[in-house]
C-alpha cells in the first residue's frame, strides 16, 4: 500500500503518507508512528524506497520517501500475488468457478 501510494503520488513524507492511507481507506486504516516508521525503515533496508531529508511546502523539515526501481518491481510482484490470493479466497468463499 505504501509502495502503491508512493508510486502514484511520488515522493511523500511520513505524515502525508499516513494521511493518504487514512484518506484512501476512509478512516479504516489509522496508522500510528510506531507502525509506520519501522515499516518504512524495513522497506528502506530492503531497498524498495529511499528516504531523503527535504522541506515541505510550509517550510518544515521532513524526510521524503520515494520508490526505487526495485520497489516498483516488488510492487508489480506483490500486486500479482495479491490478485492470485484474493481470487482463490473469493472462489473458496463464494463457491464460484
Amino acid at each position: 500500500m505504501v509502495l502503491q501510494t508512493l508510486a502514484t503520488l511520488g515522493p511523500l513524507h511520513g505524515y502525508a503518507l499516513a494521511g493518504r492511507l487514512d484518506q484512501v481507506s476512509r478512516g479504516a486504516l489509522q496508522i500510528n508512528m510506531g507502525t509506520l516508521y519501522p515499516g518504512l525503515m524495513r522497506l528502506e533496508q530492503r531497498g524498495f524506497v529511499r528516504g531523503t531529508w527535504g522541506v515541505t511546502e510550509n517550510n518544515r523539515k521532513a524526510r521524503f520517501y520515494s520508490i526505487t526501481p526495485a520497489g516498483r518491481r516488488q510492487l508489480v510482484a506483490e500486486k500479482a500475488e495479491w490478485d492470485r490470493m484474493s481470487s482463490i479466497i473469493h472462489r473458496l468463499l463464494r463457491g464460484e468457478g
Binding site: H13, Y15, A18, N32, M33, G34, P38, R46, F48, A62
Partner: protein
C-alpha cells in the same frame, strides 16, 4: 524477494554494529510528523493545546515509536549479546580473585582430563589410520602367551579363500630391515613390514605417489623386489623427493625398486611402531634370511598377523562363527599342525587390551584420577558461583523490579558462565599440552622409531570443556532462576533469609568431597612414591653403571648363523683390547632389555602335564661365560657357564631362584633336567642357580628365567656388553669403529650405557606416573583449599550480624575465632577421614593392578593427614580471623 530479504538482514547486521541513522535523526523524523499533525489540526481550527493532544493521540508516543525503530534498525539480540559479553567481561575483571580461581580450576581439571585421555588414546583407543577402522578386525590363533593372534601363511591362504564374512584379509609381518639408500651407503636399521599383495587395497589406503603392489608381485616367492616407502622414511631419507620412484634401495642386501610412497596419515597398523618400508610378502625368504622354517609351506610357522575388513552386513559374531567352523575343518585336514588351534577374531581395541593388560590398569587408574580432578575443579567453580548467588540474586531481583525481562537476565548469566568456562578452556589447552609433554618422556630405548605419538586429543579436550561449561552454566544460572521464579519483594526485602539451609549443605558436601578426593590422590601419590623409591633403592639385581651395550645383527647382511657367531667372537676378542675396556661379555640382550618376547614354556624333563594344567613360561637369556661377572648377578649355587660349554658338550642351563622354587621347592635343582620351549630339542641340565633380578619392570613380581649357554645356542643377534674403567659412553666410538673395521656395512644399534637403558625402561615410567599422580593430588588439594576458604569466608560473612551480637553481649575474639574455624575443620576432618579410607582401599586396587603397595604405609598416611590438616586449618583460620575482628557496632549497623 529473497534478495531483498537478504539485503534487509545485511543492513540490519551492519546496523547492529554501526548505526547508519542516529537516534537523533530518527527522533527528528518523528517530531516532524507530530509537528505536521499539529499544524493540520490547528488549520482545522483546534486550539493549540488541543491540537497538540489530538496529534499525539493520533500518531502515538514518540518514545514507543523510537523503540520500534531501534529494533528494526539493527538486530536487537546481537546488540544484547554484545552488551552481555561486555558486561560479563567487566564482571570478571571486577572480581579478579573469583575469576582467577575459577579459570585456573577449570583449566587444570579440563587440561588433566584431556592429557590423560590423549595418553589413553595414543596407547589404546586411537583407531587405525584407515577408512572405516571399526570394520577392521584381527584374526588368528592365540600364540603361546595368548596375547597375540598369529597365523601361518598356509592357514592365511585357506582362511582368505574360504571366508565369506570378510571383504578381504591382509597378512603382514614386521622385520628388522637394514636399509641402504645408496648402493654403497651405510645400512641403517629400520622397521620393515612384509605385506600381502592386497594390503593397501583391502585397507583402503592409496599411495601418496606411485602405486600400490600389484597382485602379480605377490604371486611368486622371492621374485619381485619392489618396495613402498613409509611417508616419514621418505621425508627423512629422501627429503620428500618425488623422483625416488624407480630408484633402488638395499633392503637387507636385496636391491629393491621403489614403486610408491604411503600417505602421511597411514603410519602402520601398530600403535607403537611406525612402518617405514613395505615389501611384498613373497619376498619373505629373501629379505629375512634367518628363517627357521619354510614360511610358505610350514603350517606351524605361525608368525603372520592377519587383519580383515568385515563384509558389509557381517557382524563380529558371524565372523567368529564362520572362523570356528573353518578352524575345525583345518584341524580335521591337518591334525598334526592344526589340532586344538582355534581361530579367534578380536576388534582392534580388544586386541590391544589383551596385548598389554598392565597398560589398561595404568590407563584406568590415570583416567579415574583425572576424572577426580575434573570433579574437584567443577565442584570448586560450582561452589564459588553458589557463594555469589545471594548477591547476584538480589541484583537480579532489582533488575526484574525495574523491568528487565526474565529471558534477558537468564541470557546474561548464561553468557557470563560461558565466558568463564571459555577462559578456562583456553588455559586448559595449555595445561593439556604440558601434560602431553610429560607423557612424551616415555621412551622405549631403541634406535628404531617405536615412539607412540602422543598428540593432544581434540575430542577429549572437547568433552572436558563440555563438562566445565555445563557445570559453570548450571551453577551460574541458579541466581537468575531463583530470583525470577519467586516473589520479588521477598527477595529484595530479606536478602539473606532464603535458601540458607539447603544451599549450605550442598556446598559443605562439595567441599568435603573435594577434600576427600584430593586426600585420596595424595595418599595414592605418596604410596606410589614410597614404593617406587623402595624399588629403585633395591635396584634391579644387576649393575647398571660402567656398562655399555651394543647390538649386532649380521644376519641382516646375509651372514649364516655360523658366520654370525664367528663375527661375534671376533668383535668380543678385539673389544677386550680396546683401551678403557675392563671386560666384555656377549648376551642375547642387556640385563634390562630382556623382553617378555623371549618367553618360552619350561618343563622338568619326564614330567607330563595334565591337559588343563598351566605351563610355566620363563624368560630366556642366552649369555656367555663372562656375563654373570660383568652384570654382577650372583650365583647362589652351582657353577657359572664356562668356555667348555660348547656345541659338542652336554647342554647346560642356569635358572633363577624363582624358577627353582616353582619346580624344585625344597630340593636341590642342580643336576635336574629341563625342557625349554615347544621344540623337540634335547633337555638341558641345570648347572647353577642365579639370584632373581628384575627383568621387565621394577614393580614386577619375580619372573622365572632360564640362562642358556651362548656356545650351545647360536643367535642371529647378540648384544656386546662392555665394562668400562671410566664413563661407559666413552667406549661407544671406539667400539663402533672396531665393528666398522671388521665389516664396513655392518649395522650397529642400541649403542648406549646400560644405566641409560635401565632408566628409560624401568625408572622413567615411575617418575612420570608419580609426578602425574602427585601433580593431580596437589592440584586437587589446592582447589579444595580454595573451596574450603571460600566456604568458611562465606559462612562467616553471613553470620556477621550474629557475630556482632555475640560480641556485643560479651563473647571474646577467641570464642568467635574457634566458632568459625570449627566449621571449616569439621569439614576437612570428615573429608580427610573419607579420603584416607578411600586411599587405603585404593592401595588394594593398586596392588592388584601393579603388584605395588606395601602392607602398611603409616608414615605416608600420617604425612598426608598432617599436611592436609595444617593447610585446611590455615584456609579456615584466615577468614575466621577476619570475622573475629568484627567491630560489633559496625556489624549491627550495616544491616
Amino acid at each position: 524477494m529473497m534478495t531483498s530479504l537478504f539485503r534487509e538482514w545485511i543492513v540490519r547486521c551492519w546496523g547492529a554494529i554501526r548505526r547508519r541513522r542516529s537516534d537523533s535523526d530518527l527522533e527528528e523524523e518523528l517530531r516532524s510528523h507530530i509537528a505536521l499533525a499539529e499544524e493540520e489540526a490547528r488549520r482545522r481550527g483546534d486550539a493549540p493545546e488541543r491540537a497538540m493532544r489530538t496529534a499525539t493521540i493520533h500518531a502515538g508516543g514518540v518514545a514507543q515509536a523510537m523503540e520500534m525503530l531501534r529494533e528494526q534498525r539493527g538486530l536487537p539480540w546481537i546488540a544484547d549479546l554484545i552488551r552481555d559479553v561486555r558486561y560479563g567481561c567487566r564482571m570478571l575483571r571486577r572480581n579478579p580473585g573469583f575469576t582467577c580461581v575459577s579459570v585456573v580450576s577449570l583449566s587444570i581439571g579440563v587440561g588433566a582430563t584431556a592429557a590423560v585421555f590423549s595418553f589413553a588414546d595414543a596407547l589404546l583407543l586411537r583407531p587405525l589410520p584407515v577408512p572405516h577402522p571399526d570394520r577392521v578386525v584381527t584374526i588368528g590363533s592365540p600364540d603361546a602367551s595368548g596375547r597375540n593372534l598369529v597365523a601361518s601363511f598356509r592357514d592365511y591362504v585357506d582362511i582368505r579363500d574360504r571366508t565369506r564374512t570378510f571383504d578381504g584379509l591382509v597378512a603382514f609381518n614386521s622385520f628388522n630391515a637394514a636399509v641402504a639408500t645408496h648402493p654403497d651407503g651405510l645400512p641403517k636399521v629400520h622397521i620393515g613390514v612384509l605385506v600381502s599383495g592386497n594390503f593397501f587395497a583391502v585397507l583402503g589406503v592409496d599411495p601418496e605417489i606411485g602405486r600400490a603392489f600389484r597382485p602379480e608381485e605377490d604371486a611368486v616367492p622371492a621374485r619381485d623386489a619392489v618396495v613402498i616407502l613409509g611417508h616419514d622414511f621418505w621425508q627423512h631419507e629422501f627429503g620428500g623427493e618425488p623422483a625416488v620412484l624407480g630408484r633402488m634401495i638395499d633392503v637387507n642386501g636385496v636391491p629393491c625398486t621403489i614403486v610408491g610412497v604411503a600417505p602421511a596419515h597411514f603410519t602402520g597398523l601398530d600403535q607403537y611402531t611406525r612402518f617405514e618400508i613395505y615389501v611384498p610378502l613373497m619376498m619373505w625368504p629373501r629379505v629375512v634370511r634367518s628363517l627357521t622354517a619354510e614360511p610358505f609351506e610350514a603350517r606351524d610357522f605361525r608368525s603372520l598377523t592377519i587383519k580383515g575388513r568385515l563384509a558389509s552386513g557381517a557382524a563380529l559374531r558371524d565372523a567368529q562363527t564362520e572362523l570356528t567352523v573353518l578352524a575345525a575343518d583345518l584341524a580335521r585336514a591337518y591334525p598334526a599342525t592344526n589340532r586344538n588351534r582355534d581361530i579367534a577374531v578380536r576388534t582392534e581395541v580388544q586386541a590391544r587390551v589383551i596385548q598389554a593388560p598392565p597398560l589398561v590398569g595404568l590407563l584406568a587408574m590415570l583416567t579415574t584420577l583425572a576424572a577426580a580432578v575434573l570433579f574437584v575443579a567443577c565442584a570448586n567453580v560450582a561452589g564459588l558461583l553458589t557463594s555469589r548467588a545471594p548477591v547476584r540474586t538480589r541484583e537480579m531481583a532489582l533488575r526484574m523490579a525495574i523491568g528487565a525481562g526474565r529471558r534477558r537476565l537468564l541470557q546474561q548469566l548464561f553468557i557470563e558462565s560461558l565466558l568463564l568456562s571459555a577462559l578456562g578452556g583456553v588455559l586448559a589447552i595449555g595445561v593439556a599440552y604440558a601434560g602431553v609433554h610429560v607423557f612424551r618422556q616415555f621412551q622405549i630405548p631403541t634406535d628404531l622409531p617405536v615412539v607412540p605419538s602422543f598428540d593432544l586429543d581434540r575430542r577429549a579436550l572437547l568433552v572436558g570443556l563440555l563438562v566445565s561449561v555445563v557445570s559453570a552454566v548450571l551453577f551460574g544460572m541458579t541466581p537468575a532462576l531463583r530470583s525470577t521464579r519467586g516473589d520479588l519483594t521477598a527477595v529484595l526485602k530479606a536478602p539473606d533469609a532464603f535458601g540458607s539451609g539447603r544451599l549450605r549443605w550442598g556446598r559443605a558436601l562439595l567441599v568435603g568431597g573435594q577434600v576427600a578426593v584430593s586426600v585420596t590422590l595424595l595418599v595414592i601419590a605418596t604410596l606410589m612414591y614410597r614404593s617406587f623409591q623402595e624399588l629403585i633403592a633395591h635396584g634391579p639385581g644387576y649393575r647398571t653403571d660402567h656398562l655399555l651395550q651394543m647390538t649386532l645383527d649380521p644376519t641382516l647382511l646375509g651372514y649364516t648363523p655360523v658366520q654370525a657367531q664367528q663375527f661375534f667372537d671376533r668383535v668380543a676378542e678385539r673389544a677386550r683390547a680396546v683401551p678403557g675396556v675392563k671386560s666384555i661379555a656377549l648376551a642375547s640382550s642387556a640385563p634390562s632389555d630382556i623382553g617378555p618376547s623371549s618367553g618360552m614354556t619350561v618343563l622338568p624333563d619326564g614330567v607330563q602335564l595334565m591337559p588343563d594344567q598351566e605351563r610355566i613360561r620363563a624368560l630366556t637369556s642366552i649369555v656367555d661365560e663372562h656375563y654373570f661377572a660383568i652384570a654382577r648377578i650372583p650365583i647362589v649355587s652351582g657353577r657359572l657357564f664356562t668356555a667348555s660349554d660348547s656345541a659338542t658338550s652336554p647342554r647346560v642351563a642356569i635358572i633363577n631362584e624363582h624358577l627353582a622354587q616353582l619346580y624344585w621347592s625344597g630340593q636341590d635343582p642342580i643336576g635336574k633336567r629341563l625342557r625349554v620351549g615347544d621344540s623337540n630339542e634335547p633337555p638341558v641340565e641345570i648347572v647353577g642357580v642365579a639370584k632373581t633380578a628384575k627383568y621387565v619392570a621394577l614393580s614386577e613380581s619375580p619372573i622365572p628365567l632360564v640362562y642358556l649357554a651362548y656356545g650351545q645356542h647360536p643367535q642371529k643377534r647378540m648384544t656386546v656388553l662392555a665394562e668400562s674403567l671410566g664413563d661407559p659412553k666413552d667406549l661407544a666410538a671406539p667400539l663402533r669403529d672396531l665393528v666398522r673395521g671388521l665389516d664396513a656395512n655392518q649395522p650397529v644399534y642400541n649403542v648406549r650405557s646400560v644405566g641409560e637403558s635401565y632408566r628409560m625402561r624401568m625408572v622413567t615410567i615411575f617418575d612420570v606416573v608419580v609426578e602425574l599422580v602427585a601433580a593431580m593430588g596437589i592440584a586437587g588439594l589446592g582447589l579444595a583449599l580454595v573451596g574450603l576458604y571460600g566456604l568458611v569466608a562465606y559462612a562467616a560473612n553471613r553470620r556477621t550480624r550474629e557475630i556482632g551480637i555475640r560480641m556485643a553481649i560479651g563473647a571474646n575474639r577467641t570464642t568467635v575465632l574457634l566458632m568459625v574455624v570449627r566449621q571449616g575443620i569439621t569439614l576437612s576432618i570428615v573429608g580427610l577421614t573419607v579420603g584416607l579410607c578411600a586411599g587405603a582401599g585404593a592401595r588394594y586396587a593398586m596392588r592388584a593392578a601393579f603388584g605395588l603397595g606395601r602392607d602398611i604405609d603409616l608414615l605416608g598416611f600420617i604425612l598426608v593427614a598432617a599436611v592436609v590438616l595444617a593447610v585446611t586449618l590455615l584456609a579456615a583460620y584466615v577468614p575466621a580471623r577476619r570475622a573475629s575482628r568484627i567491630n560489633p557496632m559496625v556489624a549491627l549497623r550495616c544491616e
